[in-house]
Symmetry: C2
């Protein structure tokens, strides 16, 4: 009878807030003696790593960090960034990892918008951060991670990461958040508008992402994981949290240079990695001639764009077992996967490339990934022809956009999160992207807002109208291409325009080519970008 | 800032009640064409299976079943029982699977205590159910599953399962429960007292159990799963829900006869199974001489008691890769596992048997499995010597005992669920049971309450005092042994006592031997069972 069932309430024993922080205690208790970190000469087991995480969290508390504060981090993939993925939330604060490739202007915007209370920064990136502070007109408290050979001016006001570790601080217990709906991370993403939006993750989603990644990627215990996916992208696709759960050894190289990655793979017996297609391309190019073949194969999760057929083929030959996944910052990363089917073994290389270019089917922790006709609200027919928009519903969809209720409401219309990606669905249920409905270019795994680049172009004195669209590129997947209409009587060269953009934008956002032409417009004067995209076939 | 983070509420797009019912839609959409059910000549894919589940749920609605109702099922492992694991909760009702080996008295008690509104029963078990109804003094509405050759009297008032399937019923959509804390299942367990207790599961726990099983057992997609674990034990260790998530093929044999199981393994390429140690023993005995070796090995999850060393050794030789797991009905089944360590490869057979007899470490979805000294409240030292009680905290701990707030509060004291199992912890964190603190005997995977058996013994006219304890047994793990003190002037033989018990108890609960002796007692007259257990070494 319902009343009897309903009378059984939640208790401490049977209702625990879901959080990836729970994996810390697991790592400490069950995997304590196993290697956690391999970086240069550094080796640390999980017990030591958890102890450092607790010490860092204690130090952050001493610096005044606590529940609901934002702590920003500007740092490449090194063990300290792994530690911070746990240490910051352990204090109750929210970790905001910054893309190290961004320009000072955007970093300044983010630090301000995110209400950051502290920035933890790698020495090498201090000059960039200082430019951001200058633009903000104020400096935030800083913790410096000394890792590379860079020397920082002695008189700079900051705490070192080692000091943080050594602070006389309250012993942090490995407690979980009060509520699994609490925020754990804040990740800025280039959306359709020029300004990046702050995507907030909750503990519940981060936990389910970890469990779901293991189930969906069919991961064993104790993998040897090569850290290539930048931990500033969706917290490294939430992989660091997974690794604590599984007692993995994580191998770091600071930079994703192919020779370093290949040496790490060989020296440490890497079993798993996540990497953008561009990294696969670099690896296969570096080793292509050598006839290298990893056996057993290395499992690689790749995302951002479908790897080109040639890269897939060469990866396979090299013993890299690639699974393309699909997702967005708003979905904590991967929520669909191009799961391998045994029947594909017989496919021709061209057919295989087509199959593996699909975005595939939903991960098990997502309620639904559907392709929906936004006019009718119905799912499209599975005929590989009818196009709709990819929509996602599930517990690994963001809490919302930070300080942007309008954008949040818009994103969550009609009970779905709308991806902005146009796609079709094959008869077997595998979906494939056909069109980018939002104005985003994905280049080498990085999202670029066309609008942001256009805004810079419009500042150029010779530019009357401008449109930036994605141009297919063998190496980067896509690159930004600028279409420019000059003012009457004004002239500019491609080199001028590119140099002007580079002065205001990060390298990866700068257009790689410029086309001077009259722009096709609607009767109301709106630029028809689809006409421009047609030029690239 | 906290207020900004907190202002982001739950929406339909980002907060979905966790429930294993969500795997139905997944199975239908993504695994629809894959085989779901293999049983004799019957083959059904997941699309057909999901359609049948919806039809059954619609039929149940038509029969008046809805939210918070209890629906009892008395049925061996056949495809209909798989369907009911989904169809009953889909109506909002709670599935109560009954152990088919129980005596009519206990079934009557459970049906009454559980407030059952309907019983779905396999033809073969109708006579047993009718005896229960007679004891209850009333009959409940019945749905008959016609599977075996048994003929049921025409005049019996019941609906057939096929009628249920064909009813003009509202089309059930695959909707999730309103609240993930809603009840999904009710499983009666023999506790320390004579009466079984009703363990209530919630959707949240059942969902996490499924995800955690895949992560902890390192399961691939599309396994071929042999259904051996009775689906009336913890809903088949929650495996049926896992199989919908992974698009598994499930193979059924109705009865766990070793020749049928071996034929199924060979004919259908079984990759995974769950089974009590007694089943492993039967399989290895059947095939021991034949030199059978399954390659690739079949993954077997086993529970109930550590398999004897000889069985482990022979299983290994036969290509059965056994992982012992530990859990209780109250924890949805397995929450700890004796995870294989590569370093064990070098162990001697005796050492290996000792290692694999451990209950091991926590599954990833549990917050903590600890061994605690109940006097100090502290965890025991990891020295394989200090003994404490296994305590569990996590989201796969029951909602509570049905209509038993006192027992629920007692079980959840101090923020833990207390298992009643005394254990030690090895330096590597693996725990091992050393003592049963509760008065339960586990025989062939079935729990037996000593108190219940003793209550029967006391009804015998010649018995003055009685105590039932577990006696180690090569085949069954443990068997109940009765110690009896006769009344002055009365006599009885072992055969008398056993026959008397058998008349009142299920076969597996009946003592296998009787010892006539004066019982050791404390000064206050309490029987000292530990003295009796000493007799068995």
């Amino acid at each position: 009878m319902q009343q009897h069932y309903d009378s059984l309430g939640k208790a401490r024993a049977n209702h625990v807030p879901m959080s990836p922080l729970s994996f810390l205690s697991r790592a400490d208790r069950l995997h304590g003696d196993r290697t956690a970190v391999i970086y240069g000469e550094t080796r640390r087991n999980w017990r030591e790593t958890v102890a450092r995480i607790r010490a860092v969290a204690g130090g952050l508390r001493t610096l005044g960090i606590g529940k609901g504060d934002t702590v920003s981090v500007l740092c490449p993939n090194i063990p300290e960034l792994l530690e911070l993925q746990f240490a910051v939330p352990l204090t109750g604060a929210v970790i905001n990892t910054l893309n190290t490739r961004l320009e000072a202007e955007t970093i300044a915007y983010i630090l301000d918008h995110a209400d950051s209370k502290l920035v933890i920064v790698d020495s090498e990136l201090i000059p960039l951060l200082q430019r951001s502070f200058a633009l903000m007109g104020k400096a935030l408290p800083m913790v410096e991670i000394v890792d590379g050979p860079t020397e920082t001016p002695q008189d700079l006001d900051r705490t070192s990461y080692d000091q943080l570790l050594a602070m006389t601080a309250p012993e942090m217990d490995l407690s979980l958040p009060d509520d699994e709906w609490d925020a754990i991370a804040l990740n800025y993403t280039s959306g359709t508008s020029g300004r990046p939006k702050g995507v907030v993750y909750h503990h519940r989603g981060a936990y389910l992402m970890a469990l779901g990644t293991v189930a969906g990627w069919q991961m064993p215990h104790y993998p040897v994981y090569l850290s290539v996916v930048p931990m500033f992208h969706c917290n490294g696709w939430c992989h660091p949290w997974v690794m604590a759960m599984l007692g993995a050894a994580m191998v770091f190289t600071r930079v994703p240079a192919p020779d370093l990655l290949l040496a790490a793979i060989r020296d440490h017996g890497v079993t798993h990695m996540g990497a953008a297609p561009i990294v696969l391309q670099m690896l296969t190019e570096q080793e292509g001639e050598a006839g290298t073949r990893f056996d057993p194969p290395i499992k690689v999760m790749t995302a951002g764009a479908p790897p080109p057929p040639s890269v897939l083929e060469r990866s396979r030959a090299m013993g890299l077992e690639v699974m393309q996944v699909y997702g967005l910052t708003e979905t904590y990363g991967h929520i669909a996967k191009c799961l391998w089917q045994d029947s594909w073994e017989a496919a021709s290389p061209e057919e295989l490339a087509r199959l593996q270019a699909q975005q595939g089917i939903a991960f098990p922790m997502v309620d639904a990934v559907a392709v929906i006709d936004r006019e009718t609200g119905e799912e499209v027919t599975r005929d590989s022809r009818e196009q709709g928009e990819i929509a996602i519903r599930g517990n690994t969809v963001m809490k919302g956009y930070y300080k942007d209720p309008d954008a949040t409401a818009e994103a969550f219309k009609d009970g779905w999160f709308w991806s902005g990606d146009g796609a079709v669905v094959a008869p077997d249920g595998y979906m494939q992207i056909r069109d980018r409905l939002k104005d985003v270019i994905i280049s080498g795994g990085e999202n670029i807002s066309s609008v942001e680049v256009e805004a810079v172009l419009y500042k150029h004195p010779a530019v009357q109208a401008a449109a930036v669209v994605a141009k297919p590129d063998e190496k980067w997947g896509e690159v930004p291409c600028a279409f420019v209409e000059t003012r009457p009587g004004e002239t500019a060269t491609e080199t001028d325009i590119i140099a002007f953009c580079r002065a205001h934008l990060a390298g990866f956002k700068t257009p790689k080519s410029v086309v001077f032409a009259e722009l096709p417009k609607t009767s109301t004067g709106k630029i028809q970008k689809f006409e421009l995209r047609k030029m690239f076939g």
